[in-house]
Amino acid sequence: MEVSFLINGVSQRVDVDADTPLLWVIRDILDLKGTKFGCGKAACGACTIHIDGEAVRACAYAVKFAEGKSITTIEGLSVGDKLHPVQQAWMEEVVPQCGYCQPGFMMATAALLEKIPQPTDQDIDDNIVNVCRCATYYRMRKAIHRAAAIKQETR
């Protein structure tokens, strides 16, 4: 099946089995390795991307549903050389340890800040449910608040 979509602003067309997980297409066909495979069960969030602005777990998303949609991966979060506030905050707070799960967290956070620009701790607990085996949650919470502040400052 041929599926066409926009990914990080670039138009792409792939010819794959309709039920292929979008994560496979992103990593193995389009060679965008930033989005990670974690559990394959939509449980850990390592594969979180944006589809039409909404956070989606790419491992549980059949590519056929992506037809005509706009996809953003971690590679497309910054605008040119300008880092996204989430990326900037992640660096300032030195969040990652091993780093594997972080792209998923950052994409989930970027989606959250679009919906709730100044999230409370409760908002963070309710919306960011990804899994980090290094348990960087404490630094992530600080980074999420920092990202919200940067976003506010740059408006």
């Binding site: 039920d19 997980p21 394959g40 069960k41 939509a42 449980a43 979180t48 909404e54 956070a55 989606v56 777990r57 491992c59 549980a60 998303y61 059949a62 549903f65 989930a108 989606a111 959250l112 679009e114 919906k115 709730i116 908002d123 607990d125 309710d126 919306n127 960011i128 449910v129």
Partner: protein
């Protein structure tokens, strides 16, 4: 001995016919369900028989898990609270950046074990069935104040045509590849029972 062409095929046709009949008579619901599908009579159901069959479905976990009493969906065969602290959210589609569609799409994903159907969402709070008796559920679904303002005809359509309701008979597999349990009444018999119940005036037993 030369067997005439028609006679040679006759035993094969008999076998196919018998096999086909056996196949047709097998219950539709045959996943890993521990619950035996109840064979239904060919005779028309009266209102109370129909009520009984409808309620066998509406009280099943495939329905009640997403008709919770509170703001947290349930999941699985043991109806545990949905993993990850998933919540109802303002529009019954989850919270701002963790909506149902973060994981659930328009159809089951049997690779990931994530169920899906069009309009995947929680039933509104007014349609909470968890903890209700069969009589209370029936009263609820007939009450426009709690059923989304539906008439009886619209309720029949919802129960017999809505893809999210009918997903109960195509629930896919879980994250371990194990088929989810289907309701104990087949889809065909449920639809017949809903229509028969409504045609009889949607009677509700005293208890």
């Amino acid at each position: 001995m030369i067997i005439p062409e028609r006679s040679r095929w006759f035993p094969v046709l008999i076998l196919l016919l018998v096999g086909g009949l056996l196949g047709l008579s097998a219950p539709e619901n045959r996943s890993n369900s521990q619950i035996e599908v109840i064979p239904q009579s060919a005779t028309p159901l009266d209102g109370m028989q129909a009520f009984d069959q409808v309620m066998q479905v509406l009280t099943h976990k495939r329905c009640v898990n997403c008709h919770p009493a509170g703001d947290r969906p349930r999941q699985g065969e043991d109806s545990h609270y949905h993993n990850f602290g998933v919540q109802r959210g303002k529009g019954n589609h989850g919270v701002a950046a963790l909506t149902c569609n973060t994981c659930h799409q328009a159809e089951n994903n049997n690779y990931a074990g994530v169920p899906g159907a069009p309009d995947w969402s929680l039933a509104p709070r007014s349609m909470a069935w968890e903890g209700l008796s069969r009589v209370e559920i029936a009263q609820s679904i007939l009450d426009p104040a709690r059923n989304g303002g539906r008439t009886l005809a619209q309720t029949v359509s919802h129960l017999t045509e809505h893809e999210l309701v009918l997903w109960a008979w195509d629930p896919g597999v879980d994250a371990n590849g194990i088929p989810r349990e289907k309701p104990p009444v087949s889809k065909v018999d449920f639809i017949k029972a809903v229509r028969a119940w409504a045609a009889a005036g949607a009677p509700i037993p005293a208890k």
